[in-house]
Assembly symmetry: C2
Homo-oligomer: 117 residues x 2
DNA sequence: TATTGTTATACTCTATAACTATA
DNA sequence: TATAGTTATAGAGTATAACAATA
């Protein structure tokens, strides 16, 4: 499922982790790189090349918060790309759900959320 | 969840893919390396180092079927290790299921199976 | 003293191309 | 002609250690 999602997101030049970061910043702007890493369970060190790619693609901007931290914000292009990523992932989720027999469907997400907690 | 399972299996010196291969051979002996790869969705080329490790650990043996193919069989040590791997994964599954609220529990596996098909 | 951003590095997983030997 | 086993290699994902600068 993850490789299928990765495949679909590659149509807008995003990896799954890229899309996760865009969605997180879209929901809460001006988080730092370290914040994002903590929330998405990505090591601080591994955020660097990820954000560098998003920065190079002009999807995010780094705005100094103080002399140590940077706030990550979406550029207009990043907001547009986020909408595309959302459309793709929502369609993907609908396609997945369509495979689940109707009597099990409403139980899947609550059960998965319980596993994850 | 996969990294938690990997962690538990490392107690018996197995990776998740090692355990999958042992379980498959345990269920159907004398498959070839290519068979196993097809059934577990592992590239033929990536089966080589995997089986080399299991072979070096004396958990499997390669028995010539003809001059081209090799049948993979479990050694006695491999059968014992398989029992340990089964005990660990079954406990893991019980632990996971215990987190799922009772009203959703019986729906999870059928829903996941439907997703996978 | 703890945290941020960063560099460097290593290991695992996965994918592809190519080769040989055989079915 | 297709398949088995193999080698080599590259790209991702992920983990750790270390460092300078700053809170």
């Amino acid at each position: 499922m993850m490789s299928e999602l990765a495949n679909r997101l590659s149509a807008v030049d995003l990896r799954v982790s890229d899309a996760s970061v865009l969605m997180l910043i879209g929901a809460e702007d001006s988080l730092t790189s370290s914040d994002i890493g903590r929330l998405l369970d990505i090591q601080r060190a591994n955020m660097v090349p990820l954000l560098n790619r998003l920065d190079a693609a002009k999807l995010i901007a780094r705005v100094p918060l103080d002399r140590k931290s940077m706030a990550i914000t979406l550029t207009p292009l990043g907001q547009e790309r986020l909408r595309e990523a959302r459309a793709i992932t929502e369609q993907f989720e609908r396609d997945l759900m369509a495979r689940v027999p109707e009597e099990h469907r409403d139980h899947l997400v609550p059960a998965l959320n319980a596993l994850w907690s």
